[in-house]
Amino acid sequence: MQLLSTDISLILEKFSIIVIVVLALLGIALYTTFAERKVAGIMQDRYGPNRAGPFGLLQPLADGIKLFFKEELIPLASNRILFILGPFIAMFTALITGAVVPWGSQLEIFDRTVSLTIAKPDIGILYVFAVVSIGVFGMMIGGWASNNKFSLLAAIRGASQVISYELAMGLSIIALLFVTGTMNLGEIVTQQMAGGLGGLLGWNIFMQPLGFLIFLVCVFAECNRTPFDLPEAESELNMGYHQEYSSLKLGFFLFSEYINMIVSSAVMATLFFGGYDIPFVDETALSAAWGNNIVAILGILMLLSKIVFFLFLFMWVRWTIPRFRYDQLMDLGWRKMIPLALANMLITGVVTLWLNS
């Protein structure tokens, strides 16, 4: 009952962190949609949205308000409850993934040491997995309940894609776990902070380059981003699983996709790029000089910049390459990624054993 024996101030503290994280996720997601359009614009020799507010900065707000005031359409032939449940699940699962990500080290406020991680279970990575595997239900239910063949096809595509790539993802993580020896994300970050060049060489990316590549590809697949955006391939399936959705429910779906991107960027940064570790800087020395809080905030900013880089990567790839076909995707997942991940796992295992012995 360890999890539950808590005092009120801790609950308050956790609650406020939850609120902050959720709001931050929503806010960043809001502007990620904007960034996506802007990045697409500048990569395509055009400007992108620049009319709403200065430089178009109010664009996401405009989209949000518009979606909010749009008529809610629920197709007559659809399954009402499930139709509403779909986007809800998608949004909910996207948001709760952020619970185990260490967003920073810790802050000292009013003599309390506030950890910037909402929950630090020993099974942090497994938790991420569990939530991600639940997340697919949103897409499936939404697609199925729309009672539209395109949506249904998209839902089936999405489900099989997510299941397939979860395997390779898990295997690449297992290889990583051989290196780290813990599943606690906080500890993984702390481990990486030790290393040459102010922690840079301790990053797991140098231990597990292939594992990272596999993980990256799987993250693209799990987030349904190009080249794995088959469930919402607009040229084939006409927006895919959310094509019958309008108004806020559509917003939920679109948002959950971006939140998923943000959280998986954070997970990638945490697992492979040292999380809130600042490269070339020795944090302990720095915090002795500047105080813990400043370093913690710098760490948060560092993590954010890593997330921003990954988000940019997501968009960059999206606006560059075409998408797979369904059978090619399955082929890549089952016949290339999984063997590769297995090989990576075996090699890592052997090397770890050899080094330890």
Binding site: E236, T320, P322
Partner: protein
Amino acid sequence: MSDHNHIKLPEGSIGKTTTTLNLGPTHPATHGVFQNILELDGERIVKAEATVGYIHRAFEKIAERRPLYQITTLTDRLNYCSSPINNMGWHLTVEKMLGIKTPKRVDYLRVIVMELARITDHLICTSIVGVDAGAFTGFLYVMQYRELVYEIYEEICGARLTTNMGRVGGFERNFSAAAWEKLERFLKEYPKAQKELEALLVRNRIFYERTRGTGAISAERALNYGFTGPNLRATGVDYDVRVHEPYSSYEDFEFQIPVGTTGDNHDRFIVRTEEIWQSLSIIEQAYRKIQSFKGAEAEVYHADVPEYYLPAKEDVYTKMEALIWHFKIVMGETDIPPAEVYQAVEGGNGELGYYLISDGGRSPYRLHFRRPCFIYYQAYEEIVKGSMLSDAVITMSSLNLIAGEMDA
């Protein structure tokens, strides 16, 4: 359990493991407007049925009520991606009927315009294949240069897309200096964008595997289905109207006919890209030839046929004879012989034929367009059978189906 014999299966559940998917008419992949009713087994297509006619506009009926010069506006809207080719084809048909011989410079000007149109047509098709495969950006890179071509058109005739360009016997005006300047700019800058598009797609494994081997058709079937143009050439048959029945002095130009080997989507794609390069070379040759004209010859932009070519405005305002011709031509009262002509040009999609029957009247007695799209779209059902849904989409765009041409 003894009662299992009278248990009824749910209605309609037996004998149907496939789903019917209605692709179109508003589906994004059906860029124009046509409908494909697909029978899917999972994602594999077991049967396809194509329905067209969603923008049937009765061109042939309208043409029977319009004087010859007004039909140019109709041909614009056939294959709107390459309107000038259609315009020129129509003028060539009328000139063939009337026995008008155009000067070389006019021919070369026409070649330039037609090849520009071919480039825009292929450019749209190839980049749209990319879009349908999910790569949007390359499309926007080349679209900027299509814009440049449209500016050239605008300098020549005053409109961008539905050009209504040219007259019977030549052009309505000489190319302006701005037009030549823009043409030079296009010739200089376009290859870079085209190379970028190719670099983004052709050898990218995702794109390669999505196109290679999908949507294939053999040469025999293609011929039987009446394929022409790039789609036929992708199967390996080097049939090109420009070479077989040279019109507009195409015999003066050096160019090659790119052919594919398997007739799949990838072959269609690379045949079109290669044709863009050939067209660029043709334009350059034509440009050089035009520059070599000297003196009065260098200003010729129409044949000397006062009966069919509108006189210059200054003459109309001042000279009675010119005014009379002007009235006669506009009212459509010039002499037109009874005739039966078939003239083909190599349109963006293949052999674009004009079958014109004239009874000597002001408008054609019968005008039939051989629309390549319409003819080869019927092969679609056969091509996509057994392929995946995604292939069906790419096949549709790589065939370059233009609804305006198909439905006429």
